[in-house]
Symmetry: C2
Subunit: 257 residues, 2 copies
């Protein structure tokens, strides 16, 4: 580790260095360094990172210390460990299990793939509330995508998606429609934007005429309103997604610990 100490690896930063330096353990510092390499694209989604012993040599610490850092990154879903093979940068592209953040489950019957229908994809100026959520200035360029997800031909999810225009130049309805696989896979491979975590605000609302129409329901039908803010590295918000879910034959599943 060349970041903080001078001689031996054990000579870490201590509380004598500064007044209240907020002591940070070595493995935490290495986690930060590795996160920066991931963010910089030095290690690409789907690829293997160096072995633990290799990383230990590079950072001049013991294997146990890089192990703690890698464990933490794996817990954050940034890396995936595979015994006997190596440690890999996680990716949305080979996402076998549904749509990463979508928690909808059928009331009965097996989980089944969704059909997507894109309603429109427009480039426009950010409304005040969208700008605030995404950390933009009101009037900045944003891209607005609307689409419907159907399960077994039953329209179920109406998504209203807002993306910073600066990050997603050239995103069109065609590219969305042509891309096979989850939308986050497209964002990752084509625009270098990786979703790390998200926060959702869930409410119950009544369908207005537009959404009722698109979801094949009556006006006033109860819908789940799911407002999701997705973050990339550094907890930077990069997507605001307002979803309306029909919960007649599906439910939102959550686990509490």
């Amino acid at each position: 580790m060349s970041t903080l100490n001078s001689a031996s690896p054990a000579a870490v930063m201590t509380s004598a260095d500064v007044a209240t330096p907020a002591f940070s353990p070595l493995y935490q510092q290495i986690k930060t360094l590795m996160t920066m390499r991931l963010q910089a694209g030095e290690w690409r989604p789907g690829e293997a990172i160096p072995s633990e012993l290799g990383l230990a040599a590079r950072f001049k610490v013991s294997q146990g210390t890089v192990r703690k850092a890698v464990d933490a990154l794996a817990a954050d879903n940034l890396l995936v460990r595979r015994q006997g093979k190596g440690t890999f940068v996680s990716t949305h592209a080979e996402q076998t299990v549904q749509y990463r953040f979508l928690r909808l489950m059928p009331n009965d019957g097996p989980v089944v793939g969704a059909q997507r229908r894109f309603i429109d994809c427009r480039r426009l100026r950010a409304p005040a509330d969208v700008a605030r959520s995404l950390g933009l200035k009101s009037g900045d360029a944003v891209i607005n995508v609307r689409r419907v997800l159907s399960f077994e031909s039953a329209p179920t999810v109406l998504d209203d998606i807002w993306l910073p225009g600066a990050l997603f130049k050239g995103l069109t309805a065609e590219r969305l429609a042509d891309y096979k696989g989850p939308m986050y896979g497209l964002f990752e491979s084509e625009f270098g934007v990786r979703m790390i975590r998200a926060e959702e605000q869930i409410r119950a609302v009544s369908a207005d005429s537009l959404s009722a129409n698109l979801l094949g329901l009556g006006v006033g039908a109860p819908l789940l309103s799911v407002e999701r803010l997705s973050m990339t590295y550094g907890d930077k918000a990069v997507e605001l997604r307002r979803g309306l879910y029909s919960t007649a034959s599906h439910y939102y599943r959550n686990e509490l610990n």
Copy 2:
């Protein structure tokens, strides 16, 4: 560790023992042993468990191995580590932060305490669906509690709670009303039932006349339906809670990783 090996601690179970013995690492076995001690009430909620070195001596393993076991139990929220003080059995009683599993947040303004009003607490025979969820036989004794939670005098949550009668003998409306603190604290201290984790199914529904009345809304108003199944040790279901949340001035908050 006297459970599996004979001589040295390092002589753990190997894949040579049986055909496909599903190799379980030492720290995992110790985690299981500690969980059993917790379940048996040998270490009580709020109390400190032995120090890591003490546990290491007792189980005849190294400190590092018990550390992994304790880390896992702390990750499951069964234990709480406090540097310099010790490791404690977590408890619902001194739960400073709201109601453990309740994810409701005010749209704006600070989090504020709730007022509780108990509507009734009856002992009756389990309906088929309740019995199925709780792993009982249809017709077994259950306790049904209904109550309303209000925030700043606005009724917001209508809970319909089902508990196995065998586990909660003597639970009455009086004891519920008299108990200060969260309901799960009462369950823990008076009935020895600790909620470990829960699963929720969330839907949007329309208020019927009864729930509309109790929540001060119009009939047909959209409500969040939250059906929660809570589990104790061994993933045994011990509470079915059907909640109706008014999401006019609150939202259900969820974090996705």
